[in-house]
């Protein structure tokens, strides 16, 4: 059954690839015929098919075409998730990729064989990209991408008004967080909001804790990729699982944690029914939709660990914009110009017109607009203080697919933290084997 589905999917990918080829061909021929008349170049850009993705790309393209009258950019859409990954890989392998495309940075970027498939970005453009971003889009010395959008953080959104009323400070250690939670609970407010109907949200206490894991054990990511470090046996890594169990055992979560979604959680947080919500700062957009009046009441702090001195933010980096090897000649030149534009202040500004920044831009000269939400300011403060480090998924390609379900079980009291961590190590093994990594 699955075989047939996989086949039809592969077929689908192939069909899309062929379809994708058609506009590329016609664009090329159009371009050359235009050249005869002294006209411009047309390039294609593959981005997400979701409305937000399309709007963001369109805003960039509009500004770019105005600045470069000779170049026309056509936007194509692709699905997200695993299906999108397959499509990107297929089109790269078959040489039918659009002239420019945006895709994840970090370990997923490493999986599309950048050295074989991509053209490095011009050195003059690379100079304008923030140093913290370069490792996420480089192989050796070569840089293949520019940041598209802004960085964001994983941590805790909190209701500042509730914190003030109850009289608690932003915690810098986990023990402080639990103490604050107990006091908030005594005031009749749910201290920690959890929303397991959207299972991915259960992962925050583990994934956003990685800054603390790396602080305690700097070589964890490397050892983990090599199959030597495990969540179940590394104390710092296991802590995230234990914290999740702790907040459930001490009943520090909202009563309806099992049946609520992100929107409900945001609403509760904004209304002061909940005080702290482990989240990605990216989701400030959800907050703006469900509680536009309360956005300024909500702040953001990094997930605290054992050591107050090492307190810092687990950071996620934006997608990169890449140019495949199949783009050549005039199209390549135009693509390089587009990449340079995206990593320049006008590019950032164009994005900011449609997407609220969720953290700092990683290109030189790009400043956050003055009217960004409190959450974004709080996240940027960690970047300014250089108290941030990349999330595990940027350092290691190994991430088990069942983490969400395992953590829902730990957070619901169905499974213990120790058991959950051990189960996750098993889950991770499959991923490492599928990737063909050494040492598994």
């Amino acid at each position: 059954m699955i075989t047939t589905r996989a086949k039809s999917r592969a077929l689908g990918a192939a069909t899309v690839a062929v379809l994708g080829l058609l506009p590329a061909c016609s664009a090329g021929s159009l371009g050359s015929s235009d050249d005869g008349g002294g006209g411009g170049t047309t390039i294609t850009w593959l981005t997400g098919a979701e409305q937000d993705d399309q709007l963001q790309a369109q805003a960039v393209v509009d500004a770019f075409e105005q600045a470069h009258p000779g170049i026309t950019v056509e936007i194509e859409g692709r699905p997200g998730g695993g299906e999108g990954d397959n499509l990107v890989k297929t089109r790269l392998q078959t040489g039918t990729m659009a002239d420019v495309f945006n895709y994840n940075s970090g370990s997923l970027f490493q999986q599309i064989a950048p050295a074989n498939n991509l053209t490095p970005i011009d050195a003059s453009t690379v100079e304008t990209v923030d140093d913290s971003y370069l490792p996420q889009v480089s192989v050796g010395e070569d840089v293949y991408g520019v940041p598209y959008g802004n960085a964001f953080g994983g941590g805790v959104m909190y209701n500042r008004e509730v914190f003030e009323r109850v009289g608690v400070e932003v915690p810098t250690t986990w023990a402080e967080l639990v103490a604050a939670a107990e006091r908030i609970k005594a005031a009749g407010i749910a201290p920690v909001v959890q929303t397991y109907q959207d299972t991915w949200t259960a992962q925050l206490l583990v994934l956003a804790d990685f800054h603390n894991v790396a602080a305690a054990n700097p070589s964890f990511a490397q050892d983990y990729t090599a199959g030597k470090a495990k969540f179940a046996t590394d104390r710092a890594a296991r802590a995230g699982f234990e914290h999740l169990q702790e907040i459930h055992d001490k009943q520090l979560v909202n009563a309806d944690f099992a049946s609520t979604r992100v929107e409900d959680g945001m609403r509760a947080l904004a209304a002061g029914e909940g005080a702290m919500y482990p989240m990605l700062s990216l989701n400030v957009s959800t907050l703006q939709v469900v509680a536009p009046d309360a956005v300024e009441d909500v702040g953001f702090f990094a997930l605290p660990g054992q050591d107050a001195a090492a307190n810092g933010l687990t950071a996620w980096y934006p997608d990169g914009v890449y140019i495949p090897k199949s783009t050549t000649g005039e199209e390549l030149e135009a693509a390089q110009q587009l990449a340079a534009f995206i990593a320049s202040p006008p590019g950032c500004e164009a994005i900011a017109t449609v997407v609220t920044p969720t953290g700092p831009y990683l290109a030189e000269g790009c400043e956050l607009p003055s009217d960004v939400p409190q959450i974004t300011r709080d996240v940027s403060a960690y970047f300014d203080a250089d108290a941030q480090s990349p999330a595990l998924e940027f350092l290691s390609p190994v991430k088990g697919p069942a983490l969400e379900q395992i953590l829902v079980e730990v957070g619901s009291g169905i499974r213990t933290a120790t058991d959950g961590a051990a189960l996750y190590d098993q889950d991770v093994q499959k991923q490492a084997q599928q990737l063909g990594l050494e040492g598994w």
């Binding site: 075989t3 047939t4 099992a258 697919p401 379900q405 499959k430």
Partner: protein, 316 residues
């Protein structure tokens, strides 16, 4: 099938072979009952069946032994099967699948028979009731799943709101780990009972009137009539309902996926959802191995069961 293949290969090989063939084929025909159509009539169906079912199925037996991606595959022997059986969710998935299949098919038999009896008797608004009972069958499983997900929300859902009016504190239908699977099974029965009822109605209506009359003359009451006439004589309907709903239950996926995604955690996972998650995660070899296992498990259960039910039918 073999005849079809024989005749097509025969036509492409040498004439000597062809000349040698006809007598043997004639002999074959004499042995078995001659079909009303020539062998090549089966060809289009055989091609479709072979290309869409036989070849993929056979290929999947090989790919279950590899770790594959779209581009290449690596032969790893039985490792996928070892991995799949060490999958902690799998044990649970197996148990859940059986529980789910038995509950849904049992409930469909009981309710379908009851409703079938009711809707074949002379009652007011029979046509309307028949339509109402059958209607859920026509709605897509995913649509039903999403609708019930909303209705079964513990704090905002209509079901618990209605129970609240009666003073009952409704449970977390889909979020209580002990209850989630049963809630989905309940919805499955609601959705599927219409088909079971339809099959029973057909079975009951086809029982000749003479049996009823003879039983009445012999002084049988309603219960005796049901126990000794209607139930045994509608056995073909029962066996159809059991087989269909058991197979359906064993490979159930859409409703569970739409309602709980196997959650909370892994508590309502069934074999099909475990396999799907492996596929979704990109473990293609592993999920192929899972499908081979599911294929064998369903065959191992359903084949003897249909034999048993068919024999019972003959005995009657």
């Amino acid at each position: 099938m073999s005849q079809t293949i024989g005749s097509t290969t025969g036509s492409t090989t040498g004439s000597a072979v062809r000349r040698a063939r006809p007598p043997r084929r004639a002999g074959d025909r004499a042995g078995t009952r001659p079909g009303p159509y020539p062998g090549w009539f089966y060809l289009p169906a055989a091609i479709v069946y072979g290309a869409l079912f036989l070849i993929p199925t056979l290929l999947s037996f090989y790919f279950a032994l590899t770790r594959w991606t779209i581009f290449d595959s690596e032969f790893i022997g039985l490792e996928n099967f070892a991995q799949f059986f060490s999958e902690p969710a799998l044990t649970r998935g197996f148990v859940n699948t059986f529980v789910y299949a038995v509950i849904t098919s049992g409930a469909k038999v009981v309710l379908g028979l009851g409703l079938g009896l009711l809707l074949t008797s002379r009652i007011l608004g029979r046509g309307y009731l028949r339509a109402v009972i059958f209607f859920p069958v026509l709605v897509s499983s995913v649509g039903v799943g999403i609708t019930f997900q909303v209705l079964m929300n513990p704090t905002k859902g209509a079901i618990n709101a209605a129970l609240g009016v009666l003073g009952i504190d409704g449970p977390g239908w889909l979020v209580d780990p002990a209850l989630a699977l049963f809630s989905v099974a309940l919805v499955d029965v609601w959705k599927g009972v219409g088909l079971a009822t339809l099959i029973y109605m057909a079975g009951i209506v086809s029982i000749p009137k003479e049996y009823h009359e003879a039983a009445r003359v012999d002084g049988a009451g309603s219960w005796r009539l049901f126990r000794d006439v209607v139930f045994p004589l509608s056995w073909p309907a029962t066996s159809t309902v059991i087989t269909l709903s058991l197979i359906g239950g064993l490979r159930s996926f859409d409703l569970i996926w739409a309602m709980t995604r196997g959650g909370p955690g892994f508590t309502s996972d069934v074999i099909a959802s475990v396999i799907y998650k492996q596929y979704q995660a990109g473990f293609y070899g592993l999920s192929t191995a899972g499908n081979v296992i599911l294929f064998l498990a369903v065959t191992a259960i359903v084949l003897p069961l249909t034999r048993f039910l068919a024999r019972k039918e003959v005995e009657l």
